[in-house]
Symmetry: C2
Subunit: 438 residues, 2 copies
């Protein structure tokens, strides 16, 4: 097996079957696919000729899946903090975007985001931003897997003018994207208040005809509820029901404002939710009732949102925040255990994106999207439960190897596909331009 | 100046004066003390002969101050997660402690905690645990500054039996500690419900006579309120008022359950509060109203609590959690800005410990407890506001240098005072003994 590789960590956490930790197992990868997972001794017999990577003191697990982000906005990391969502958008983010957003801005920001993500153990990310082809090109260059959904909004911007124009541009992008590896696409209507009924109807029609997901900020904050009610005299979910948007592969984002009957509706329609706890906390948007959603059988995933409202793309920290927030929000320290948080960031993410047949767990036949995480640092000693360590004591800094489709893309600070000096240079130029606007 | 050193970072954040960032300044240290802080060009003229450390791309700031912890419990990191405070203590932590706590357990755990703390930019930590001399010896060996307060509790344990015995052992420790450098001491009555009136009275008398702080878990959770009410038919603060404990240099810990009039009382009596957001979230204890406390003029500091309920000792992550939690808890994204969170972890901590004449800011004449933090990694690029970066994008992993009293104790993974191999070996032995109890 000339294209094969043996990973030899201290622990393997396959995610499926659940609650399983293999001690001293080898994970065998060949031609981008997981082909075996077996005890080291058996691997020595069967795969003795396969080149091996010694990962003693490390844990191997599926790459993490970030189900909500705006990669280009990584260029705005720390540009404007400690503001409310609407003030942040209207007084800070949107004015900069109006001045500077272009394919080269998006390409540089998405490159930075993909590099950070890979270095922190994320192998797949969902993204929505203007100039989606620039995002796709940057991400494709780094080798990360992605779902890129195209923004649709009533307001004009550098990428498109009207709703119809956004949709037309989306179709052009989808055509281009069809030949790209590791890429899936869909629509990202911005929010219920910022699209007309007509816009949603057209998106629904195209999404159903082409089996595309629809990725939608929904019930993000109380502000959104008020704004939508002023325009449409109802809650966003009710309007989305009336417009039959739940017939599509709807991917809801945020969901901090939920009634019990709305949770039942999500369950009934098998609509998943991506939880972005750090962004929701930082913008004081509210708290998604993640533990209740899980208990009711709604699929839940995890996202960082953009680095401008986080301010990192580290899903390890996001898992921890999700677990801690669920506990304090419910008053129950049993809420969202470490195992459940890790599931959200792996299989939960794969299910959310409709990619659970390909990624999200270390099962034979799945894509080898795999990471290795060092638990041997004194700051993560002692180790009683590797999953506890991953969620409560590790950050993305502990990631040593990141593979996508069996390809080693990141290893201990180095990226294999690109020149990090060129990335730094581009970011530095954008920092100067953006900083001049402050 | 033969004992002098020039630090040459891109930014210096002195904390005092507030809201100040110096670009291209040098910090001059001599004989353990900050002697100058001036523009690089002026430093070249005046201190050209002083040995310099190039810290381009880094920010120099005061060492962080961790105002609440139980260092020895670092050996129980990840031992029992996702349990309520009382179940966690009674079913998991206390049984292990009853079996294993000894001077050697405490020494190993405190050594591990001090090493982690120094590596994450903490130069001073407040600690309370059995066998305080073992903690002090371990911390003293690493060079970290500490306040070690002695536990007093009605329940017998390996260190002491009765309340009086705890107090007697405390006095023995205080005598020993008087000659130790970088160490201050005090009493740590465990909680209102776990000491008698007589115990508090004796502590009050000794604390006042010897000008010692009294470090007290107070209003940590609703459970504590119920437990105390069952025993004493009142809220803990009311009993502490009756016992005149606020006459001492009382250091309150946690304070998640507070009435408005109790906040007024804290202000009136100039009683500081240490906020431990991650531990409070993980144990679902509640949320300390830190933004309201600040607004009312109560001094607030930051703590990690023990690694068993956190599960790290990284004050950078704690600052971020404090800021995010304050925003979502109040519904105001302006709550606890990055600057305010950083103040809590530096000057706020120094004030809490009564050490603000010595540490907490980079002012001439203060002790050179100083850290340098790398902002040049792509994961922390671009940099518009260094303070935003420190609170929202950095973790303790970005710390490159940690000085206490001008002595370089940690530098890029290496500790200057001890053999990390011996620390690893001890931790590994304890892991085997503790793990065998699971």
């Amino acid at each position: 097996m000339s294209n094969a590789l043996r990973l030899q960590p201290s622990w393997v956490i396959p995610i499926r079957p659940e609650n399983t930790i293999h001690l001293d197992f080898d994970l065998i990868i060949c031609d981008g696919v997981i082909v075996d997972l077996l005890p080291r001794q058996a691997a020595n017999d069967r795969y003795g000729d396969v080149s091996a990577i010694d990962l003693t003191g490390e844990v191997v697990l599926p790459g993490l899946i970030n189900c909500h982000g705006h990669a280009a906005m990584t260029l705005l990391r720390g540009y404007a903090d400690d503001h409310s969502l609407m003030a942040w958008l209207e007084d800070h983010i949107w004015p900069v975007e109006a001045k500077l957003v272009s394919p080269s801005f998006v390409h540089a920001g998405a490159w930075l985001a993909a590099a950070e993500s890979l270095s922190r153990g994320t192998t797949c990310c969902a993204d929505s931003y203007f100039f989606p082809q620039a995002t796709a090109e940057a991400m494709g260059m780094t080798g990360i897997r992605s779902q890129i959904t195209t923004p649709v909004i009533q307001f004009p911007n550098a990428w498109a003018s009207t709703e119809e124009d956004h949709i037309a541009q989306s179709l052009v992008f989808f055509d281009w994207a069809a030949t790209q590896p590791r890429l899936t696409v869909g629509f990202a209507p911005h929010a219920a208040y910022s699209l007309s009924d007509q816009g949603f109807k057209r998106i629904r029609q195209l999404a159903l005809a082409n089996d595309l997901p629809v990725h939608l900020h929904l019930h993000e904050s109380n502000d959104e509820m008020i704004r939508h009610a002023a325009l449409y005299q109802c809650r966003p979910i009710d309007r989305m029901r009336r417009l039959e948007m739940f017939d599509t592969r709807l991917q809801t984002v945020h969901m901090t404002q939920l009634l019990d009957e709305e949770i039942s509706w999500l369950k009934l329609t098998k609509t998943p939710v991506v939880h972005c706890p750090e962004s929701n906390m930082k913008l004081a948007s509210g708290i998604c009732p993640i533990d209740q959603l899980r208990a009711e059988g709604v699929d839940v995933a995890l996202g960082t949102d953009g680095a401008a409202s986080n301010n990192d793309l580290d899903l390890f920290q996001e898992m921890r925040t999700a677990a801690l927030l669920a506990k304090v929000a419910t008053g129950a320290p049993e809420a969202l255990s470490a195992e459940q948080a890790l599931y959200m960031a792996t299989m939960g993410g794969a299910q959310y994106l409709g990619l659970d047949h390909l990624i999200g767990s270390l099962e034979i036949g799945k894509q080898a999207d795999v990471i290795s995480v060092r638990l041997s640092d004194i700051q993560t000693q002692p180790v009683y439960h590797p999953v506890s360590q991953l969620v409560y004591a590790v950050t993305g800094h502990n990631v040593t190897h990141t593979f996508v489709e069996g390809e080693l893309l990141y290893h201990n600070g180095d990226f294999n596909r690109f020149d990090v000096g060129e990335l730094r240079s581009q970011v530095s130029q954008w920092q100067a331009r953006i900083g001049a606007l402050i």
